[in-house]
Amino acid sequence: MAHLSEGTLRRLVDDPDALTGSDRRHYMDCAACQARNRGMADDAQAAATLLSAPELKLDVATAFKRVQTAPAAKPRFGFSLPILRPSTQPMFAFGAAAIVVALAITAFANILPLFQPKTVQPVPVTFADLQALEQLSAYGTLTWSTQPKPQIVLTAADAKAISGLDVPVVSKLPAGVSSTVTYAAMPGAVAVFTFDAKKAADAAAATGKSLPKLPSGMDGAKLTVTVGPAVVEVFGDMSAASGTDASSQNINLPQLIVAKSAVPMVTSTQVTAKQLEAYILSVPGLSPELAAAIRSIGDPATTLPIPVPVEYATSSKVSINGDPGVALGDNTGLGSGVIWIHKTNVFVVAGSLKQSAAVDIARNLK
C-alpha cells in the first residue's frame, strides 16, 4: 500500500480518530509514515506557538454601537457591482437603476470616452482607486436631464411595455433556483456632465496639487450619457415568508438576476475621446495600477470597462456565443456573474451560482 498522503497525516495530528480502517493499519505498521507524522506534529506545534496572540477582552455591545454609528456605509462613487450584493428588496426595487447607473458611472469614471461600446473589459481596481475617481466630480457637474425611473412589474409583457426591450428568457434554470420571477424595467435616462475649468482648478488648489492644464475646448464641454432602457429579471420567491408567520424576519434573496440594457451611449461637444483619455491619465491621485489598466483597455471608443474590486472579485474573459464577455467571481466562491455585449445591448447574468452555471445560463439565453 502506498504511504499516507500529506493531508491525511496532517489531519491525524488534529484528530487521532481521522484514519479509516486500511489507513490505520498501514500507519500502525509504517515507520516512515509515523516519522512524517511526528515532523508534522512538530511543525503544527511550532506554528501554534508562533501564532499565539495577546488576550482579547471584548465588549460586543459597545462594539456594535460603534459600528452602528459609523459614517453611513455607502459605496465609493456610488458604485457597486450588483452581483456582489445579494439583493434585498429595496435593492431589488432599484435593481434596474443600479445596473444601468453602474454602467453609466463606469462610462464616466474610467475613461470618459465618446463611445458606444461593442465589447467589455475588466479593469481591476481597489476601493482606494474608486475613491480616487471620486475626485473626478471636482471637474464639473453631473445632472440628469431625464431621471432614471425604474418600476417593479409582475409580467414580462409589462416590462417590455415600459422598456421597449424583448425580455430575455432563461432556457433552463439551474436546480434550486426558484422559477418565480419578478421584473424591474425602466425607460432610457440621460445624464449630462459639464466640464468646469474653474471648479477643477479650485479642487486642485485645495489638495495642494496642480491640475493638468485643461485641453483646449474642455471648459464647458458637455458629455451626454444615455443609459437604458433596461429590464431586470429577478428569480426567487421574494414575497414568500419562511415559517408560519407572514411577517417573518427572514428575507428571501434573489437567486438569479438576468439583466438587459441598451449599451450606454456617450456623445460630446468640444472634446475628443483621445483628449479625454489622456487627460484622465494625467489626473493627480490616479493609481499606477488603474492607469495601466485603463491604458490596456485598447480602443476606448468601442470598449466598456467593468471595474472589478480586487479585494472581492476576480475576472476572466469568456465567449458568449461568439461575443466576448467578462466572467466575474466573488472570491468567496459564493457569487458569480457574467457580462457581455450583443449587438446594441449589454447583458448581465449574476447570482449565487458557480461561475460555470452563470456562463451556461448566459449562453442559453433566448
Partner: protein, 179 residues
C-alpha cells in the same frame, strides 16, 4: 401592476437591521479573534473586525448563508493586508529616520514577546494569501470545514494546505531570524 414598495422596504430594512445585529453578536468575537491572531494587537484587531462588519453590511444581507464564511475570510485578509501595509510604512519610516533614531531603541525590548510577535507576523505576511489565511483561521479555532468554507475549497484539501502552510511559516520565520 406595481407593488407597495414603501411598506415592503420599511419591513425589509427593519428585518435587515435585526438580522445584522444578530450576525454581529454571534460572530464578532470570532472575527476579532481572527484579526487578533494576525495582528497580535487587540485594539487594531477590533478596528479590523468593525471594518469587516461594515463592509459586509454594505455589500451583503446578514441572512445570507455565506455570511460567517465571508466574515472569517475578510477578517484574515484585511488583517494580513494591515500587516503588509505596516511593513511598508516601517520601511519608509526607517529610510527617512535619522541615524540616531534607531539607537534610541532599548536593546532589551528586542527580547520581549512583542518583538517576537512582530517578527512572526512579518513572516506570516510574506506567505501567499491562501496559506496565510488557512494558518490564521485554523489557529483561531475554526474547524476544517469552516476553514474550507471561508477560503472556498473542499474540506479534504485543508489537511494538505495546512501542512504546507505550517512548513512554509517555519521556513519564513527561520529565514527572517537568520537575516
Amino acid at each position: 401592476m406595481g407593488v407597495n414598495l414603501a411598506e415592503a422596504s420599511r419591513h425589509v430594512v427593519k428585518s435587515r437591521d435585526e438580522a445584522f445585529e444578530a450576525l454581529f453578536k454571534s460572530e464578532y468575537s470570532r472575527v476579532a479573534g481572527i484579526a487578533n491572531r494576525v495582528l497580535a494587537d487587540p485594539q487594531e484587531a477590533e478596528d479590523v473586525a468593525q471594518e469587516v462588519f461594515i463592509s459586509f453590511h454594505r455589500l451583503h444581507s446578514a441572512s445570507a448563508q455565506f455570511a460567517p464564511a465571508w466574515l472569517h475570510r475578510a477578517a484574515a485578509h484585511t488583517a494580513l493586508n494591515r500587516v503588509r501595509g505596516r511593513k511598508r510604512r516601517e520601511r519608509r519610516e526607517l529610510a527617512q529616520a535619522p541615524e540616531e533614531g534607531s539607537r534610541t531603541v532599548d536593546p532589551q525590548r528586542m527580547l520581549e514577546v512583542g518583538e517576537d510577535r512582530r517578527m512572526v507576523r512579518a513572516a506570516l505576511a510574506r506567505l501567499a494569501p491562501k496559506p496565510a489565511a488557512v494558518l490564521v483561521l485554523r489557529a483561531s479555532g475554526l474547524s476544517y470545514a469552516e476553514v474550507a468554507q471561508a477560503i472556498g475549497v473542499g474540506t479534504g484539501q485543508i489537511g494538505t494546505l495546512l501542512r504546507r502552510a505550517e512548513a512554509a511559516l517555519r521556513k519564513e520565520v527561520t529565514r527572517g531570524t537568520s537575516i
